[in-house]
Symmetry: C2
Subunit: 321 residues, 2 copies
């Protein structure tokens, strides 16, 4: 099982990864709960926005874009609070290319008794993640990233502790569509009707998980890491600078600052239109300065890196002449 | 355009029809709003449950299963209230096989100034529905019913009046994922990122809409009606009784009470396993007594009715001997 969990409450949401994010937050939080939200990029900030709608007592632990959350900062915040119900963090921040050391954060969270919620939309199946071993309570991902299935479905898993909290809610979750207990009936051994699942995407997701199992989860992690390392080397050869320190790099998404004098948007357009290679632009402060290069699932291949290097070598020659 | 509307705010939700239902209710309602919810079956009741989560001042107008909402009853309820923000009703109740006369209800609602929300999951594309002409403010449907596209997407449309109400909200909608204004940016002429849409299903939906356009919306309505009338006649010949009075029958879903002495579940199982014909069992009071026979989109063909009749004639002969 991709999540590496024995959790009984493991199911699939009919919707994008953001629907699973909202499912987690909506089911875990009641108004007035104390929540610590770690924000080190765009998707941590999206979680913050959802917590505001959930009317919780919200505390932020932040890190600059390009850096992970410092466990010491989280510890200080936790120590300053009487009780904490929930802590959340994004494992692979695709906005910055940073992977969060969730294992260490989980150790910091443990003494507080809080539940730990982790977003692995951009990392699950590509980067080491051990739900049960690390002690993570709720984890969700999307079908279309490292699993390379079509978008539209979002697997999510809940620990017994998380389900206990949900079963003891005083108020129902805000959302009926994303209510875990109602959704669970749809996925139970003796299923009832809740909504109509996206059945053709489920078959595709099932096949994607078969492919993952055939390759082996740890082999997939290793392939992703090796391919990412080749990418760093090839991009550095071309004058790109890596935004993120080596130990914090998310292998599934690389943020690379362009060599000086290169117009990023026209170059990206050439890549796409002439060579059918799509890379993403930088977000926030990185707009116009950095590229985000994805290496997820099927497209995470050394051949792709060599092709990108070959094409970029040509294009950059043209520019700097 | 299938909705027969000029509304600019017409988009597609990545999720099941229930997600569109929640999108509508979540965006249109603020706590304390006065809402009149018409309930004449399972899906009207689902809307009621969502209104409770939205903490509105809720008033119900009900009809027994198998009957539509009586416009007079709605009028009485509207007249008894100082102001009404929203009225909602299900057009095609698949739990009972009743089609609601939305045109007449809309005339009743108009003087109150309330917005009118209509669920057309089981009817859009199969039964006459004229959003603008009838004056309906918000309408949603699902991809997998009369459109015969794969499930997972839900088209929804908002009138200018509805958008005005949403833009003037004092609180954001409960849901971030289903927030109309955030979703709209994703579908706007100059799209931004909100979530990853279920792209392969969108292509399928696009093709389904092409097929609808080729056939012609009014021709599709006529085909559905003719096929349903053949079904009534064939089932009545076999001793079935129609639950719903002729003038209130939903052509896309027929509720038929089985002839006496026929065990409904085993018969339904035989149909499915031996003949690959699926009919649904009755819900609520109708469980064990009635069948629900769908005639939607592609599968709404006279050949299917003739085949069902042929097979049932044989099976019922076996039973009554």
């Amino acid at each position: 099982e991709m999540f590496l969990t024995e959790n009984r409450y493991t199911l699939t949401i009919t919707g994008a990864g953001t629907a699973a994010m909202e499912c987690a937050i909506d089911n875990l939080c009641e108004p007035g709960d104390t929540v610590v939200c770690c924000v080190h990029g765009f998707f941590g900030d999206r979680m913050r926005q959802m917590y505001e709608r959930a009317k919780v007592d919200l505390h932020l632990v932040t890190a600059p874009w390009g850096e992970p959350i410092d466990p010491e900062n989280l510890k200080k915040t936790l120590d300053s609070l009487d009780k904490v119900d929930l802590v959340s963090v994004v494992h692979g921040e695709t906005s910055t290319g940073v992977v969060q050391d969730v294992k260490t954060l989980a150790e910091v969270v443990k003494p507080s008794g809080a539940l730990l919620l982790v977003d692995t939309v951009a990392s699950m199946g590509g980067v080491e993640f051990r739900t049960d071993e690390w002690g993570v309570d709720v984890v969700y991902t999307g079908s279309q990233k490292c699993l390379s299935a079509p978008p539209g479905l979002s697997p999510i898993t809940f620990s017994d502790r998380a389900v206990e909290k949900i079963k003891n809610r005083k108020t129902p979750p805000k959302s009926w569509y994303l209510d875990l207990m109602l959704n669970w009936k749809y996925w139970d051994d003796n299923p009832g009707y809740h909504h109509t699942g996206s059945i053709q995407t489920m078959y595709a997701l099932h096949e994607a998980l078969n492919l993952l199992q055939e390759e082996g989860l740890e082999n997939r992690w290793a392939r992703t890491k090796e391919t990412a390392e080749l990418l760093y080397q090839k991009l550095e050869n071309l004058g790109f600078k890596m935004l993120v320190a080596p130990e914090h790099r998310l292998p599934t998404l690389t943020t690379a600052i362009l060599p000086e004098g290169v117009d990023e948007a026209p170059m990206r357009k050439k890549l796409l239109t002439q060579y059918n290679i799509e890379v993403a632009g930088g977000l926030g402060d990185l707009a116009g300065k950095a590229w985000r290069v994805g290496l997820m699932g099927h497209s995470c291949r050394k051949e792709s890196v060599h092709e990108l290097h070959r094409v970029l070598s040509e294009l950059l020659k043209g520019v700097t002449v």
